[in-house]
């Protein structure tokens, strides 16, 4: 049984990461074409990326939109999470569903809907509107992570702050918010990458503006040179380190808060 499990997981893990592993040697080739295994190694295609202004501009646009979308979704999503967890109002369940919906809805449909709205209000090819569209996809991550964290928060901490002299807002800012920061950080990393690698919605509403994924997509149609795998490897490294930092912060927080209740009980 154990052997079967071991084989199963090995196959599964390989299936998940093998394509990524292939990308690394391919991106390091000296040749014009995608070749595996590469004959000679070089960083040629990495420098090709940095030398080509269309790649750089695409990357910069992606960062701008990504950071903007992160900022918007973090603000909107956190406030929504607070309302959904703390307030009692009619239609709360429905509202929760609506905030999570973009995660479940087929992206094409969402993209189509956004495209129609954007056409109507002449927002196609507008970076701010694109950022807003990306926030829609990013908000569910923020709502889920922050509301989950807020639900686990021990309300007596906030009460302690209140009785010791803090107004409701101060108690929230000084006690609850620090508790939420790590999950907000994790959520913003997810939100950033939700925007950063967003392709479908961008294709529909960007009106030709090239984000990094759009640039890669466009490249595939024309020629395939090893710049694309080089970009892919860099993106992967970026995501992995982002997630890693988020996880570290989350763990540190966990340790602090867990020991309050479980240490000597």
């Amino acid at each position: 049984m154990r052997a079967v499990l071991a084989v199963y997981f090995t196959v599964l893990v390989l299936f998940l990461i093998l394509p990524l592993i292939f990308l690394v040697p391919i991106s390091l080739t000296e040749s014009q074409f995608l070749e595996f295994p590469p004959q000679t190694l070089s960083l040629r295609w990495y420098s090709a990326f940095f030398d080509d202004p269309t790649w750089i501009n695409a990357a910069l646009l992606s960062f701008r939109v990504g950071i903007g979308a992160t900022f918007i979704s973090l603000t909107v999503g956190t406030l929504a999470a607070i309302a959904l967890v703390r307030a009692e109002f009619f239609g709360k369940t429905a509202l929760t569903a609506i905030f999570i919906a973009p995660l479940i809805l087929p992206t094409v449909i969402l993209a189509l809907a956004l495209y129609i709205v954007f056409l109507r209000f002449r927002l196609v090819d507008n970076v701010l509107a694109l950022t807003a569209a990306h926030s829609v996809v990013a908000i569910p991550y923020v709502v889920m992570l922050v509301s989950g964290s807020l639900r686990r928060f021990d309300i007596t901490l906030e009460r302690a702050a209140r009785v010791l002299g803090a107004s409701p807002i101060k108690a929230f800012m000084l006690v609850t918010l620090p508790y939420l920061v790590p999950s907000m950080f994790a959520a913003s990393i997810l939100a950033f990458f939700a925007s950063f690698d967003e392709l479908i919605i961008t294709l529909f509403v960007s009106g030709g503006a090239q984000t990094l994924p759009v640039r890669i997509w466009n490249d595939l149609g024309l020629k395939i040179d090893p710049t694309v795998p080089a970009v892919a490897v860099m993106l992967t490294l970026l995501s992995v380190s982002g997630m890693g930092i988020g996880e570290l912060i989350r763990r540190r927080n966990e340790r602090r808060y867990n020991t309050i209740t479980s240490a000597e009980v």
Binding site: T156, R159, R162, V163, L164, A166, R256, I260, E264
Partner: protein
């Protein structure tokens, strides 16, 4: 650090959750500087009472006064109440000093003053050296002390404690009880303390209120409640007790199940309710008394506790100090027992 405690008055406080009554005509006067304990089983409404004083719970009706002034419209943060919670509720992202300083920061005290007073409070709880530690680096007892320092640093005149020792092990709990009592006498604030541990309540309190299902069943000094419980509930909740049903009366005493006619120290002999007698008020007697068989003997160190059964089937527990001249008994021994008559209590319900 000496303050004058505030007087607290609960006036017919009632709290309901839907149809459920958590607190019912809860009335209580706590004198300035008094140590008052709410004692009762889980769910009896102790926390609800404390939370309505702190302002976490809106009461359904009634009123609460501090020094004669209603606090109904005073928000929690303006009530100037110190509070210690069961799970310490230290702020995890602030170090010990930051935790203790919090109430002073909220009151706009100056930087240097905050530091001075926080360190002073930490010294009172003998944690002067740990000011820079984070809460998760402290032991349970230390956290409890920090929580206490944080609750008294701004010299509140009222201090509330909701099962503050509940999460500690027995030995630490007993040590902390003495400390809490000591601090309170040193500071002079009024304390309302919540516990479900009757031993703790007897040790600490000037007076205590025994609660059940949202009602105060009896309120008095520890001696009052121990010596003169007013109901079966209180008699069973505080200390060990023998409680036996009374099924009628004769001209010279009450008829008690399994014991026959027992004469109470009162004028009128009860005809219903219960007889209550503490184990230490039952003696072995060489002549007369009620014949009984020893069923169980439990060695307690300074005393031996016997469970005995009378000929007519009443089961009684008696405690006998080992310093006495009596030799210890084995299960099965036949003895005779008698009661200290003026210690017999009649419980109407």
């Amino acid at each position: 650090m000496v303050v004058n405690g505030a007087a607290i008055e609960f006036k017919k406080v009632r709290k309901t959750y839907g149809n459920f009554v958590a607190l019912e005509s809860f009335s209580m006067n706590v004198a300035a500087g008094e140590f008052m304990t709410l004692l009762g089983p889980s769910g009896s409404g102790k926390t609800t009472a404390l939370n309505s004083l702190a302002g976490f719970t809106d009461i359904t009706s009634g009123d609460i006064l501090i020094d004669g002034v209603s606090i109904a419209r005073v928000p929690t943060e303006k009530r100037n109440i110190g509070m210690v919670f069961q799970n310490y509720s230290l702020f995890p992202h602030r170090n010990v000093l930051g935790n203790v300083a919090f109430p002073l920061e909220m009151r706009g005290v100056g930087r240097a003053e905050i530091r001075k007073r926080s360190l002073k409070a930490l010294e009172i709880v003998r944690l002067g050296g740990l000011a820079e530690r984070m809460p998760h680096e402290l032991s349970g007892g230390q956290k409890q002390r920090v929580a206490f320092a944080r609750a008294i640093v701004f010299e509140p005149r009222v201090l509330l404690m909701d099962e503050p020792l509940g999460a500690l092990d027995l030995k630490l709990r007993e040590a902390m009880q003495l400390e809490i009592k000591q601090y309170q006498q040193q500071i002079g604030c009024t304390v309302i303390y919540v516990t479900h541990d009757q031993g703790e309540a007897l040790t600490l309190s000037d007076r205590l209120a025994v609660m059940d299902k949202g009602l105060i069943r009896q309120l008095g000094t520890p001696q009052d409640l121990y010596d003169r419980p007013n109901s079966r509930f209180v008699a069973e909740f505080i200390g060990l007790n023998n409680i036996i049903k009374i099924s009628g009366s004769k001209h010279d005493g009450a008829i008690v199940d399994g014991l026959g006619v027992i004469r109470f120290p009162s004028e009128i002999q009860p005809s219903q309710g219960y007889l209550s007698v503490r184990p230490e008020h039952i003696r072995r007697t060489p002549t007369g008394g009620h014949p009984a068989i020893v069923r169980q003997a439990v060695f307690l160190g300074d005393a031996v506790r016997y469970v005995v059964e009378t000929r007519n089937g009443a089961e009684l527990t008696l405690a006998e100090p080992r310093s006495g001249e009596n030799s210890s008994l084995d299960p099965g021994s036949e003895i005779a027992i008698s009661f200290e008559e003026n210690r017999l209590i009649h419980l109407p319900e």
